[in-house]
């Protein structure tokens, strides 16, 4: 699956009419594309560096995206858009993705940048620990850790860490407050910690979602240990 995520910052996100028009225009462009799954939605309060609108498209093939790209480019470069960040990636499979729930209400994506100076061992440890989170946090309904193949918009991102939750409390409490998060995984993000390999600033974005979006190929045993 070839996936595209665009994070849009608007000139005036408090202008509800303009925002609604932007969402409508983006949804039309997404629906007209050959994407097999789409999500266009305003981000929810609490995002950090997460933009005002989230656009997510999934294509069976890279060529499908290339054929529709100009229309999406046009829709995401409207005068209401102040800036955009875009990542393209191949949705990870195998033990890098999983699903245990089919009724999400919240889609969350974290765009992050592993510094070039990180060793392969550090990168492996970070990825392994991140993928262990669903084993400990049952509130994660679906997850996928993918590596970015193309980025635009002035920020450098190397990874996309996606999850689905049944509600915001699962994201804000179960996910954020679990010890595996603050006691293990965050060390790679902490600029004060010598283990840090993730450059600031991450893009922590989430929005409402009413359908499963993460393309985990098959349900993963939630008790299986991520490798």
């Amino acid at each position: 699956m070839y996936k595209v995520t665009r994070v849009l910052d608007l000139h005036d996100p408090d202008d509800e009419l303009t925002t609604a028009m932007a969402v409508k225009r983006l949804r039309s462009a997404a629906d007209a594309s050959p994407a097999i799954a789409t999500l266009v939605a305003p981000t929810l309060p609490g995002v950090r560096n997460g933009g005002d609108l989230l656009v997510h498209l999934q294509f069976r093939e890279h060529d499908d995206w290339l054929r529709s790209r100009s229309a999406i480019d046009e829709a995401t470069s409207d005068s209401s858009v102040r800036s955009l960040r875009s990542v393209e990636y191949i949705g990870a499979t195998g033990d890098r993705a999983g699903r245990r729930s089919w009724s999400p209400q919240v889609y969350r994506t974290l765009l992050l940048n592993v510094e070039d100076s990180a060793s392969p061992e550090q990168l492996h440890h970070f990825e392994r620990a991140t993928l262990a989170m669903p084993q400990h946090i049952q509130a994660i309904g679906a997850w996928q850790l993918s590596r970015v193949v193309h980025v635009e918009g002035g920020s450098r991102y190397t990874h996309v860490w996606e999850q689905e939750f049944s509600d915001l409390a699962d994201l804000h409490c179960a996910y954020m407050f679990h010890p595996i998060h603050w006691g293990l995984v965050d060390r790679w993000f902490d600029p004060e910690c010598p283990d840090q390999i993730i450059a600031d600033r991450v893009c922590h974005s989430f929005c409402a979602s009413t359908a499963p979006l993460i393309d985990a190929v098959e349900a993963t045993n939630p008790h299986a240990r991520a490798r």
Partner: protein, 115 residues
């Protein structure tokens, strides 16, 4: 301390002859800002406990916060305060190596995991 207490522990191996200078800088420069971000300095220890300029020293600072919400508040504040990582960078000539770990009492782990 409560059973929800989270401990942030810095262990710093300081070059011989620099222990006093490092500790003074830690107390004068680092501690006030970390405290302002919501961390509470529980204790600051050194070993060997002797001012011997021929010896390397391990300095261990243990900070506490009362729960994950407070931990995140302090962490996010630090990420918006580049002086924290800048301070550590300025100490590099005195530091051989260091670690930072986030810890909890074993008896608290199961309850902390039920969030």
């Amino acid at each position: 301390m409560t059973t929800d207490t989270i401990y942030v522990v810095d262990r710093v191996l300081v070059r011989s002859g620099h222990a006093r200078e490092f500790i003074d800088a830690y107390l004068d420069q680092y501690v006030p800002r970390a405290t302002a971000r919501g961390l509470v300095l529980d204790r600051l220890l050194m070993t060997p406990p002797v001012w011997d300029d021929d010896e390397e020293h391990v300095v261990t600072a243990t900070w506490t916060v009362e729960g994950p919400k407070e931990w995140w508040a302090a962490a996010v504040a630090a990420r918006h305060d580049p002086t924290a990582s800048d301070w550590w960078r300025s100490m590099e000539p005195m530091v051989i190596e260091r670690t930072r770990t986030t810890e909890a009492e074993p008896a608290a782990v199961e309850r902390m995991s039920r969030v």
